[in-house]
């Protein structure tokens, strides 16, 4: 008894207790990240294609799930059979007892294509302009060797569509707007000049279209003859094949190649098929950019507020009330901020900006609709309390002796703040920013009201003047997760995508934070920590 009391007194118990709790928290965090990472990262590894016999005919596909016996319910196996255009759905549950012994046919293929999800089956022939070129196994090799060329053509078409065609469209639109202005003035010669310009543009446009059409038909000339395991056939232009994966015929290195190419596609490409396939680059980019714009807005906002509260305002009940109010802002549900952002920023502010500066293009709104600027502003309001609190702490931690030294040199209060106090407080301010980023990057609800969309046609940063398009709508990883996981018609197929996007969102937040942490470390080093 007394030994227990003694240990209690020494505090050993508490050391153990706190260590255990810490370990528990760590385990939870590692478990969370590990689970998401494992679920997401495994998705790209080619799984074997299993062929089995069932009473309803043969099945070829990847095994994606097992369900044990549940009372009356027999055990079941889930197959991903693909061929949504033929079967109507990608997945199929089959009672495990009905299955024959699995086979792994070497000629089975999983073909990722631009539409309808993957095709799972066999290639029977390859033809060019209606003429058969190869059949059987030769067709596979031939198709595989043709694929890079068609991929290149597709990239080319895409880049023209996105770049030149988009650019032309914008120029034509600008001329249209200019015309509308001129029509009021009735300046005939200027109108004519504009029309000539428009006509010239239109010809270039048409030329571009023809050359595009040519490339398109070229890429459609090669046709794959496909056959599913139950004997149905389909023709598929080689131009709409993304990747051919004969999983059963591949060794580890081939699979690694497929894995890496899928991963790269995921990270660097635009989404396809209502976001359930392809990449999520626009969402990554949108998230990062939104967080950066938010940081640029929230730091001055928070720092100036804190400076006034701490250094200039008379410390009394008013300041105390303001401080409480600011801190309570952090507790307001984020959707409320979204509503405020929509009402105030988008409708009022944006509407006014449109009336004043973009009246030409009305009724199409420019700033009067959700956009990355409004979303970032809303989030910076949401996160400003964090920065205010951190900055106030940091300002308070600057030694009085240093302020006095500066003032005694004949510095004004402002000079002292700017030259001595703020530099010393910067690491603390950055701590606030880090917390703000952590909070802001994960918010989804307010963004849905203020500028995030499922699929944004163009990025908020690109090569056309003025490069930063803060009025544009954007994609966001958090919203992407919600949309793909819960709003898509094919959410079963999109499950791994959800995990992968979650993992990426975590990664983005961590990387952004690492940048800020590094910055803070550098600043601390420059300020010099030691006193002796």
């Amino acid at each position: 008894m007394s030994r227990l009391a003694e240990r209690f007194r020494q505090g050993g118990v508490f050391v153990w207790l706190s260590a255990t709790v810490l370990a528990f928290c760590l385990a939870m965090i590692i478990g969370l990240v590990g689970y998401i990472a494992a679920k997401g990262m495994g998705y790209f590894w080619p799984s074997p294609l299993v062929q089995v016999q069932t009473p309803d005919g043969p099945i070829l596909g990847e095994i994606t799930g097992q369900q044990p016996t549940h009372g009356e319910e027999p055990a079941k196996t889930q197959f991903r059979v693909g061929n949504r255009d033929i079967y109507g759905q990608d997945f199929r549950w089959v009672p495990t007892a009905d299955l024959s012994a699995p086979e792994f046919p070497k000629d089975a293929l999983l073909i990722e294509r631009l539409e309808y999800g993957p095709f799972i089956g066999r290639i029977v022939s390859l033809s060019h302009d209606g003429q058969p070129v190869a059949t059987g196994p030769a067709a596979i090799t031939e198709a595989a060797s043709r694929l890079p060329e068609t991929l290149r053509i597709r990239r080319h078409i895409q880049s023209i569509e996105k770049g030149q065609v988009g650019d032309l469209n914008r120029r034509i639109e600008r001329i249209r707007l200019a015309r509308r202005k001129l029509e009021e003035g009735r300046d005939a010669s200027a109108l004519q000049a504009l029309d000539a310009k428009a006509a010239a543009l239109q010809t270039t446009y048409d030329e571009l279209q023809t050359s595009l059409e040519q490339s398109r038909s070229e890429s459609k000339a090669w046709i794959l003859g496909l056959q599913t395991v139950d004997g149905q056939t389909r023709d598929l232009p080689l131009g709409s094949v993304v990747r051919m994966v004969p999983a059963n015929a591949m060794n580890r290195f081939d699979k690694l190649g497929v894995y890496l190419s899928r991963l790269w596609e995921f990270l660097a490409d635009d989404p396809r098929e209502s976001n359930t396939e392809g990449g999520i680059f626009p969402a990554i980019f949108g998230t990062v950019m939104m967080v950066l714009v938010m940081s640029v807005l929230v730091v001055p906002l928070g720092v100036i507020t804190a400076l006034y509260l701490r250094e200039y305002a008379r410390q009394g009940w008013v300041v105390r009330a303001v401080r409480v109010a600011v801190n309570n802002l952090a507790g307001v549900p984020s959707i409320v901020f979204g509503v405020f952002g929509l009402g105030f920023f988008v409708y009022s502010l944006g509407g006014t900006i449109d009336q004043l500066f973009f009246s030409d293009s009305l009724p199409t709104p420019t700033y009067g609709t959700g956009g990355i600027l409004w979303a970032s502003l809303t989030l910076s309001l949401l996160t400003v309390p964090v920065v205010v609190v951190a900055t106030e702490e940091a300002l308070g931690a600057v030694p009085r002796s240093q302020r006095e030294a500066s003032l005694a040199m004949g510095a004004t209060k402002w000079q002292t703040l700017w030259n001595i106090v703020l530099p010393s407080a910067t690491p603390g301010i950055l701590t606030g920013l880090i917390l703000a980023i952590a909070r802001g990057a994960g918010e989804v609800a307010p963004l849905m009201l203020t500028g995030v969309v499922k699929l944004a046609p163009s990025m908020p940063l690109d090569g056309t003047f003025p490069f930063f398009h803060l009025d544009r709508k954007f994609m966001h990883l958090g919203f992407h997760i919600y949309d793909v996981g819960f709003q898509s018609p094919n959410s079963e197929a999109a499950k791994p995508m959800v995990f992968m996007a979650s993992f990426l969102l975590l990664l983005v937040v961590v990387i952004l934070n690492l940048f800020a942490l590094n910055l803070r470390r550098k600043l601390r080093e420059r300020l010099g920590g030691s006193t002796f």
């Binding site: 030694p399 002796s401 240093q402 500066s406 005694a408 040199m409 004949g410 030259n419």
Partner: protein, 302 residues
């Protein structure tokens, strides 16, 4: 608040404030400085400030922290180009008085000040006084060294930079001159870009002195500048003070009787917010005019 009747029995015979002896007051040196302070920081450019033999004159000064009186009817004069030391037991108001001389007490809430502090013929507490200009003329060195978290160079150049001096050559010249003046140049000339917080305590204190010298003040106010230094560093600072006396007027607060005796020309002894005795240091230490002074300097106090 001048109320002699209320003064403690033991000090009922406050001696008249002695006229400070002029030690190194040369109108020559004063005239040289006119150039530096020709900026329009009126009313402190009053010519009397630059030439009068008495640098500072404190008249009937009372100071209250809230309800608590910290200085009680202080009358004191500080001679130009001399060293004046303030001594007295802890809490007697030495720092408070020192901070009145460059109006650093303005920064504390709830301070009330009555009386006058004259610089030449100008009252620095008169309304409309340019406090910034005043502080440029009355530099301060604090008890605990407080270099800025910047490089050694930037620390010394700070005062000039905030005055808008951006010329590298001028700054370099001023930094070198000030560091030499503070006896630190040889030790740091190769590491001016290093952080000032990497210096030793003694070096830091001399850096703070250099920082104060850089703006070429008239007066340097030092609040126990050696209290955190070892005897060798203390000796260096004391040498420095004697050196600086030729160009500046120095007021130093110290708890070290030997130090006061070694470096100062005049000494003022305070007790409980009152000025008990002031006079030539030699006289005060060898033949104190008051029993309390004698008790204090011989260590029989309290």
């Amino acid at each position: 608040m001048m109320n002699p009747g209320a003064i403690d029995m033991e000090i009922d015979d406050p001696r008249p404030v002695p006229e400070p002896t002029l030690l190194h007051a040369s109108l020559d040196g004063a005239a040289k400085r006119v150039g530096i302070f020709s900026q329009p920081d009126l009313p402190l450019t009053d010519p009397s400030v630059l030439s009068a033999p008495t640098m500072l004159k404190v008249e009937r000064l009372n100071l209250f922290y809230g309800e608590k009186q910290a200085l009680d009817d202080i009358n004191l004069q500080v001679a130009r180009n001399s060293v004046t030391s303030f001594i007295g037991p802890s809490g007697c108001g030495k720092s408070t008085l020192l901070r009145c001389l460059n109006r650093m007490n303005d920064l504390i809430d709830d301070v009330r000040i009555q009386g006058r502090v004259m610089m030449g013929d100008t009252d620095i507490y008169a309304p409309g006084t340019d406090v910034i200009a005043l502080r440029k003329r009355a530099g301060m060195v604090f008890q605990k060294s407080n270099p800025f978290p910047k490089s050694i160079f930037e620390n010394v150049a700070y005062g000039l930079r905030i005055q808008g001096q951006g010329d590298r050559v001028v700054l370099e010249e001023a930094v070198e001159r000030s560091l030499k003046g503070a006896g630190l140049w040889e030790e740091v000339k190769d590491r001016l870009k290093d952080s000032a917080q990497g210096l030793s305590g003694g070096q830091q204190q001399r850096l703070c002195i250099a920082r104060a010298l850089a703006v070429r003040p008239e007066i340097i106010l030092m609040d126990e500048p050696c209290s955190a230094l070892d005897p060798i560093a203390t000796a260096r600072v004391e040498e420095l003070i004697l050196e600086l006396k030729r160009e500046f007027t120095i007021v130093i607060v110290t708890h070290n009787m030997q130090q006061a005796a070694r470096v100062s020309d005049h000494t003022a002894f305070f007790w409980m917010g009152k000025l008990i005795e002031t006079g030539l240091t030699e006289k005060l230490f060898t033949n104190p005019g008051h029993r309390m002074t004698e008790d204090y300097i011989t260590g029989r106090f309290g």
